[in-house]
């Protein structure tokens, strides 16, 4: 009780200085995992197979490898500046040595922060849109797209209205609800598994095709950037880095599993023709002894939770980034509310699903910038200028 009170106070005043950590390493892992698991689950098998054919599953594993590198880098950067978020430490790293919030630092960090802000806003919008497209296409065919998107965004807004600690707990609770059914379905779809579809292991691939396959799967791993913000609120313990990596390995495992299932059941040629391959996988899966003949409705029900955690987390990050940037942390909720119409309008931007996929590709490149290039630049500059602490200040997790 006491701690809750304290945390809410410090969250509001985090502008002034140090933030009290409230997120346990395990919650940090679930934040990463549930942000990653979203619309990517439905499209990844097609995206990977149309680039890398039978070798799709290798690209997924390689994509995970790059994502691990990025996560280690970001987590280390967070350790270097304990209890500082992305806005704060980029200002310190790029600023003069005298003050933490020097004018120079604020000016130089502005492009980084604005790109990150734009990225999180547009990604939130595109994920809500993809969600809408699937729902309108597959289940609620007469419901207006706008209503589906608005429902998802308003639900996310409710979570944005709460403190960071609540967000972390919601993610922790929802993660098993997302992971277990998805694994269950992937497992059952192996009933029509055909090994020949996965062979040859290495089809005659141009190395360029293969690398673009890796890039596409790397896009599916995006979402881990959120810990540049949440790491400021996470306890720094010896487990933090390891659990962050586990947070990535959960989606990596699910993705690999689903891609293998998709390629082995459909073959890569058929997979390339399917708009939502995982949904089709669910359609051909018959679970013996289950009451539901059509599994896809049940699957979509679970998938709503996966999309919700993704949109809500990114939405949260957008509102946090902006309020930290303008220095009005106590008005974060109002900024969140103000972003709602903006996100809604962006989500209606793409003309159709195909345009939506194009937009997702562009935002994927921006995500590379935010999740890979920015941390790399900041880490290098911080090392060169000897900024931040040298010894990682491990903390005790209180009351857990």
């Amino acid at each position: 009780m006491d701690r809750n009170k304290q945390s809410s106070v410090t969250n509001e005043n985090s502008q002034e200085g140090s933030i009290q950590p409230v997120i346990s390493p395990r919650q940090s892992a679930s934040l990463i995992a549930s942000t990653m698991l979203g619309v990517g689950v439905l499209t990844l098998p097609r995206a990977a197979a149309s680039e890398a054919s039978e070798a799709a599953w290798i690209t997924v594993i390689l994509g995970a490898f790059f994502a691990i590198i990025a996560i280690v880098m970001i987590t280390r950067l967070g350790f270097r500046f304990p209890q500082k978020d992305f806005v704060q430490y980029s200002t310190i790293i790029l600023g003069t040595n005298k003050k933490e919030r020097s004018i120079l630092g604020r000016i130089l960090s502005t492009p980084f922060i604005l790109v990150f802000l734009g990225y999180s806003l547009v990604t939130t919008a595109l994920i809500a849109r993809s969600f809408g497209e699937v729902v309108v296409n597959a289940v609620l065919r007469d419901t207006p797209l706008e209503v589906v998107i608005a429902t998802m965004l308003i639900t996310s807004l409710i979570l944005v209205m709460y403190d960071i600690e609540v967000l972390a707990r919601v993610n922790e609770i929802l993660l098993p609800i997302i992971v277990i059914p998805v694994l269950f379905i992937a497992l059952f779809s192996f009933q029509s598994f055909e090994l020949v579809n996965l062979l040859p292991v290495w089809p005659q691939l141009q190395i360029k095709e293969f690398l673009s396959g890796v890039l596409i799967t790397f896009f599916a791993y995006q979402g881990y950037e959120i810990i540049t913000i949440f790491s400021a609120h996470t306890f720094i313990t010896k487990k933090t880095l390891r659990l962050n990596i586990i947070g990535l390995l959960i989606p990596a495992f699910i993705y690999t599993f689903i891609v293998i299932a998709g390629v082995s059941v459909f073959g890569n040629e058929e997979l390339a023709l399917l708009m939502w391959p995982t949904l089709e996988l669910v359609k051909v899966t018959q679970v013996p002894g289950l009451v539901l003949e059509r599994m896809e409705s049940a699957f979509l029900g679970v998938w709503v939770a996966a999309v919700f955690t993704t949109t809500a987390n990114l939405y949260y990050v957008a509102s946090y980034l902006f309020s930290q940037y303008v220095g009005g942390m106590r008005y974060r909720r109002w900024f969140g509310l103000a972003f709602l119409p903006l996100i809604f309008l962006i989500s209606l931007g793409p003309q159709n699903v195909i345009a939506l996929f194009d937009w997702q590709q562009y935002i994927g490149y921006t995500g590379m910038l935010v999740g890979l290039i920015f941390p790399l630049i900041l880490t290098l500059v911080a090392k060169l200028r000897k900024k931040g602490v040298k010894q990682i200040p491990y903390q005790e997790e209180k009351g857990r």
Binding site: D142, L199, P200, P203, E269, E270, E280, K283, V284
Partner: protein
């Protein structure tokens, strides 16, 4: 304090109202018309000479189904209505059918899609495009080719089931379960059409006024039907594809005397193949391991002697090898089509050779041999 509490509870009650609104696009079951089977035939060309499709759907009539409130219907053809309409494409024809319907057409319950042999021979690619796009169409429904007019299948009334489509459905499902009928659903057909190393097959059905029967398999070259196999040939095809056991086989142990025969029931099939590729020449050997039961014989041989059973197994092997060889010759010489999934094996296990060759041209030249290994497991309740 008390006032506050009252305001709060009123607010909560008002918010509860939001949960009572129901669905946006709610549609009751009786507010739509379910097409449980679809058939597609060739129709007379339009006035401008454009080819037209005749699309028919079978619709169950809820009040006529026995056991309903009035219970006056006796089921069968009375319980369903077959509606046909022509159109330039399938979707166009559906639009024309919709004009004659008082409720919205719904394809989510469709269990059978039948095309006539004539249409199948012209190619089914443009037919399945619409089905692929419609999220309501199941991938697990039965896609079949009908000898003659496909609409006959919808009009036919076998009387055993209340709704004729249910009869077709269970005929296929049970046949696939027992191993007689290849388990080829719409989704499987999609896959084999899009995979360049596979050639599709579909179930081939005959329908008359009161009878529906499975008569074999239609062979496809990509999306065009090019021929058909009889039931017996289809079973050997299933053996070679390592998919199913096929139905009961009639064996003549004494070649000279056609009156001596026995019936065996294959219980389990396990086919393995060895492929050798030398200078682009494919040499493939199939080995079919079959476990079978003897269910009937009409000649004198003492089966209580295990040596005799062994002898019968050898004779059976020879007979089966001969039949399988005939099928392979038929595929290689007459149809020139690799329906035994050999191409897929070559692509998966000999990829570099696969890239060098044009399999469509190589297949008729390939050297394919078959050997059977039969083990009789059971001879029934009689000793001799």
């Amino acid at each position: 304090m008390k006032k506050k509490r009252i305001t709060l509870s009123v607010l909560i009650l008002l918010m509860l109202l939001l949960t009572t609104t129901g669905c946006w696009d709610r549609r009751e079951l009786e507010e739509r018309i379910s097409a449980i089977a679809i058939s597609i035939d060739r129709a007379e060309p339009s006035e401008e000479g454009q080819p037209m499709y005749l699309v028919s759907i079978q619709i169950p009539i809820p009040v006529r189904i026995a056991g309903g409130a009035e219970a006056q219907g006796e089921g069968g053809a009375d319980a369903v209505k077959v509606v046909s309409s022509t159109g330039f494409t399938v979707a166009h024809a559906f639009g024309n059918i919709q004009k004659r319907m008082n409720q919205q057409l719904f394809m989510g319950h469709t269990r059978v899609i039948a095309v006539s042999k004539e249409i199948a021979r012209e190619g089914v690619k443009e037919l399945i495009d619409g089905f692929r796009r419609d999220p309501a169409i199941r991938r697990l429904l039965w896609f079949i080719v009908v000898e003659g007019e496909a609409v006959e299948l919808l009009r036919s009334d076998p009387k055993i089931e209340q709704i004729p489509t249910v009869f077709i459905m269970s005929l296929m499902e049970n046949g696939a379960k027992s191993g007689m009928i290849p388990d080829i659903t719409l989704g499987r057909f999609y896959i084999s059409v899009s995979n360049p190393s596979l050639q599709p097959i579909l179930n081939y059905v005959r329908a008359s006024k009161e009878d529906i029967s499975w008569i074999g398999v239609a062979l496809f070259d990509n999306q065009k039907m090019i021929g058909e196999l009889t039931a017996k040939e289809s079973w050997f095809l299933l053996h070679l594809r390592n998919e199913n056991t096929g139905g009961n086989l009639l064996i003549f142990p004494d070649r000279g005397d056609q009156r001596e025969h026995m019936v065996i029931r294959p219980m389990q099939i396990d086919t393995s193949n060895k492929i050798q590729i030398v200078d682009g020449k494919v040499k493939a050997h199939y080995e079919v391991n079959m476990q079978a039961n003897i269910i009937e014989k009409n000649f004198d041989i003492d089966l209580s002697d295990s040596k005799n059973i062994e002898k019968l197994a050898r004779v059976t092997e020879e007979a089966l090898e001969e039949e399988a060889k005939k099928l392979i010759d038929l595929l290689q010489k007459k149809y020139k089509i690799d329906s035994i999934k050999l191409g897929q094996q070559i692509k998966s296990y000999h990829y570099s050779d696969w890239q060098k060759m044009n399999w469509k041209e190589e297949f008729p030249k390939a050297d394919i041999s078959v050997s059977y290994r039969v083990e009789f497991r059971r001879i029934g309740m009689q000793m001799r």
